[in-house]
């Protein structure tokens, strides 16, 4: 089954075509990277897929379901999770509270208003487990804004994973990270279970080529090329837009 099916998607902003007639198919379990120069429309495409923008025309299906007219939170409930290019976490809440909100998101208990959350053992244990798995347990009571940039980029990914997604959209997960941090995040992504279909926007070609099996190259809102690593590396049009 196709995890994501994009058909003839276009987005127009007051006369400017940010995305022009894009069609894309991503198979379940696939690792796909979307690359392209600045302004190519990569993040816009993510916003369209995740529901933060609605297309001017075209269709979207998620795991066989038509989602073109669904709101962002409804698509998330179908098993899609995303990270943001600019870290988008809950700065004035503690690390524990941050992950808790992620864990809670897929549980019916999230509407409960007559019991304190600490009485929900399952949610608390799951949050604890995630924090310990990523070696962040000692920092659980720190306010998120007091964590380093690198740690926050990591938590962006962990937050997305907390909702046990089937499709994961990662928007420049290594942006602004040091080489060591980049290596760490790259290995985290590579180590993800194969059940999670992963789409990655990356600026860093090395990271993209290391994680992905298939690459889609975007240029001026359209798909310039699509194929395996070798096909893309050897494609003169691709090298041209990066060097030219």
């Amino acid at each position: 089954m196709k995890a994501l099916d994009v058909q003839a998607l276009s987005k127009n902003f007051g006369g400017l075509w940010a995305i022009r007639d894009i069609s894309l198919e991503i198979e379940e379990g696939e690792r796909r990277a979307i690359i392209g120069p600045n302004g190519a429309g990569k993040t816009t495409l993510f916003h369209l897929i995740s529901g933060f923008l609605f297309p001017s025309s075209g269709h979207l299906s998620l795991f066989g379901r038509e989602v073109t007219n669904l709101q962002a939170y409804q698509r998330a409930a179908l098993g899609m999770a995303r990270t943001f290019q600019v870290t988008n976490l809950f700065q004035k809440l503690t690390l524990f509270e941050n992950i808790l909100l992620g864990v809670q998101a897929i549980k019916r208990a999230r509407f409960c208003f007559y019991r304190r959350v600490i009485s929900f053992r399952e949610i608390i244990y799951e949050t604890e487990r995630l924090l310990k798995e990523w070696n962040l347990w000692e920092k659980k009571d720190l306010l998120l804004k007091n964590l380093s940039y690198g740690e926050q980029r990591q938590i962006e990914v962990i937050m997305a994973l907390a909702t046990k997604p089937r499709l994961l959209l990662l928007d420049e997960p290594t942006a602004g990270l040091s080489p060591a941090e980049t290596a760490l995040v790259t290995s985290i992504i590579k180590g993800l279970p194969r059940e999670i279909t992963t789409i990655l926007i990356e600026h860093d070609m090395d990271v993209a080529f290391e994680i992905a099996e298939k690459i889609t190259v975007l240029h001026f809102g359209s798909i310039l090329a699509e194929g395996s690593l070798e096909q893309i590396k050897g494609n003169p049009k691709v090298t041209e837009i990066y060097l030219g």
Partner: protein, 301 residues
């Protein structure tokens, strides 16, 4: 230190005159009002400007019920809470789609229209004169609430109940969700939360609790009039949050204490108390717009 304070509150009616007892009753009621607003302002990030609407609706309901001969407190309080919640349910539908300043504008306008209606619809609301002569309610158990002495403990008990209920609500999964929304709506949406629905439910909760304070104040003061819908009440509640610290459990109560004491102090001093209060408010906002709670917190660090 806190236990000394608690003892003071518990024994106050034995130690002080009726004037002070009345003051603290006012503080309890206003604290409930401020806490209800803080659900929206401090925890959800919704700067609601017309909070007096739900307070006033419950207050007038209390007055009308009294005129109809209903004196049973439990019936009236449930009715008042329900009406406060219903009004919030209606206004929420109109206001929550808006963001920031637009939200403030709409909530303000809606509450002001209620004020205008209470003012003009003389045949029902008695207009500016209001409905006087509302006696203390009956709570059964052979307790007479007419003396302020007993009404004090009654209000204190209700205040404690509300405090505990809000503590649970604000620490429930629902409460955590509200704070997530306050921090980043987009993040919450990306996680799969129906943000609009949570805001709407929070809005209704806030209206229900505001209704409690409206009913109590009518029973305390003995009358209801359009001032219950006043802008000054809605704004005063926001000031309480700013002064006492919003987003915390006790902040709104501290702020309520400060404002009530301040108003009573100043009005005892001068006929121009409104002017003095205005100057005080402007000064306080210019100097302390973060709230005393956060200043204390920073002091500890």
């Amino acid at each position: 230190m806190p236990s000394l304070f608690a003892a003071l509150i518990l024994l106050l009616p034995f130690l002080f005159s009726n004037y002070y007892v009345g003051l603290v009753i006012q503080i309890f009621i206003m604290a409930i009002f401020a806490m209800s607003l803080d659900i929206l302002v401090g925890h959800t990030g919704l700067p609601s400007m017309g909070h007096a609407a739900y307070y006033g609706v419950a207050a007038y309901a209390t007055g009308f019920l009294c005129l109809a001969g209903v004196k049973n407190f439990w019936f009236v309080i449930v009715f008042g809470m329900g009406l406060g919640g219903l009004t919030a349910a209606f206004f929420g539908l109109l206001a929550i789609r808006a963001r920031g300043p637009y939200f403030m504008l709409i909530t303000l306008a809606l509450s002001q229209v209620l004020w205008g209606i209470a003012f003009k619809w003389r045949s029902i609301t008695r207009g500016d004169d209001g409905i006087p002569g509302i006696g203390r309610p009956e709570i059964g158990m052979g307790i007479d609430l007419k003396p302020d002495f007993y009404f004090y403990y009654f209000t204190f008990a209700i205040f404690l109940i509300v405090l505990v209920v809000l503590f649970i609500l604000l620490n429930s999964p629902f409460g955590h969700t509200l704070r997530g929304i306050r921090e980043s709506e987009s993040r919450m949406k990306a996680l799969g939360y129906n943000v609009w629905l949570y805001k709407y439910l929070g809005f209704i909760f806030a209206g229900v609790f505001a209704g409690i304070s409206g009913v109590l104040w009518v029973y305390y003061s003995g009358f209801v009039n359009p001032s219950y819908f006043g802008v000054d009440l809605s704004v005063k509640a926001l000031l309480m949050l700013i002064l006492g610290g919003s987003g915390s459990l006790f902040g709104p109560s501290i702020g309520a204490g400060i404002i009530v004491l301040l108003e009573n102090l100043v009005s005892g001093f001068t006929e121009r108390w409104s002017l003095v209060l205005g100057i005080v408010y402007v000064t306080v906002i210019m100097l302390f717009s973060e709230g005393i709670s956060s200043i204390i917190k920073r002091g500890r660090n």
